[in-house]
């Protein structure tokens, strides 16, 4: 299984988490993002993800390399969906393996927070009253 992937296929959370297990890793922490049925006070029926695939996978790898350097982490996998997703579908899975839980939690948080800021991925929320590209700039 690839460590860093943007895919139009459904994500297999169990396989992604299993892919980062290693003999020296006593802690595996994962984050799973699913499509929510509401956002910013509007109902959401489905999401449409656009992405710059070649760059997205490079950014995932770069963020993971930073996390490995900052925290004592053995292995990291990042998988993100593209295309059309319905409420409840998995949109992203981050899995981190480390010797101990503290660094695994910290690194997992670092990866998902930075992915949201830096990965060239865009979501369009479709609801009963239309569709909008999400803009979460402060």
């Amino acid at each position: 299984m690839k460590r860093f992937e943007l895919t139009p296929l459904p994500l297999d959370e169990g396989a992604i988490v299993a892919s980062v297990q290693a003999p020296g890793a006593g802690a595996v922490v994962s984050f799973a993002g699913r499509v929510r049925d509401h956002a910013r006070g509007r109902q959401v029926v489905r999401l449409e993800y656009d992405a710059y695939p070649e760059m997205a996978e490079r950014v995932f790898a770069q963020i993971a390399a930073e996390a490995k350097e900052k925290f004592a982490v053995v292995d990291i996998a990042v998988h993100h969906r593209s295309g059309e997703l319905l409420v409840g579908d998995l949109s992203v899975v981050v899995a981190v393996a480390a010797a101990h839980r503290g660094s695994a939690f910290d690194a997992c948080r670092y990866v998902i927070d930075n992915l949201k800021l830096r990965a060239p991925i865009w979501k369009k929320e479709h609801g009963p009253d239309g569709a909008v590209w999400v803009d979460e700039r402060p």
Partner: protein
């Protein structure tokens, strides 16, 4: 010099196309290239707030000076996850 521009999300919808072949003077910056493209696509100008730049698939600033053959991407505010 000749470069390739890529559009995504709201920008792709504003221009109606995913890529654009662009001829620019040597020494043009990413931000200047964006202004040029905006003048060709008025709808892009309306979707331009918060644009970021990538050259050859790496984040960079608007001051980045382009070279022949570069792939320049205009990135709307990102919203992955």
């Amino acid at each position: 010099m000749h470069i390739t521009v890529r559009f995504f999300a709201a920008h792709r919808e504003a221009t109606g196309q995913p890529t654009l072949a662009l001829e620019l003077p040597e020494g043009t910056s990413a931000a200047t290239a964006f202004q040029r493209v905006c003048s060709r696509f008025p709808a892009l100008k309306q979707a331009a707030a918060g644009v970021a730049f990538a050259v050859n698939q790496a984040h960079t600033s608007g001051e980045h000076v382009l070279h022949a053959g570069d792939e320049l991407a205009f990135l709307p505010p990102m919203s992955g996850g």
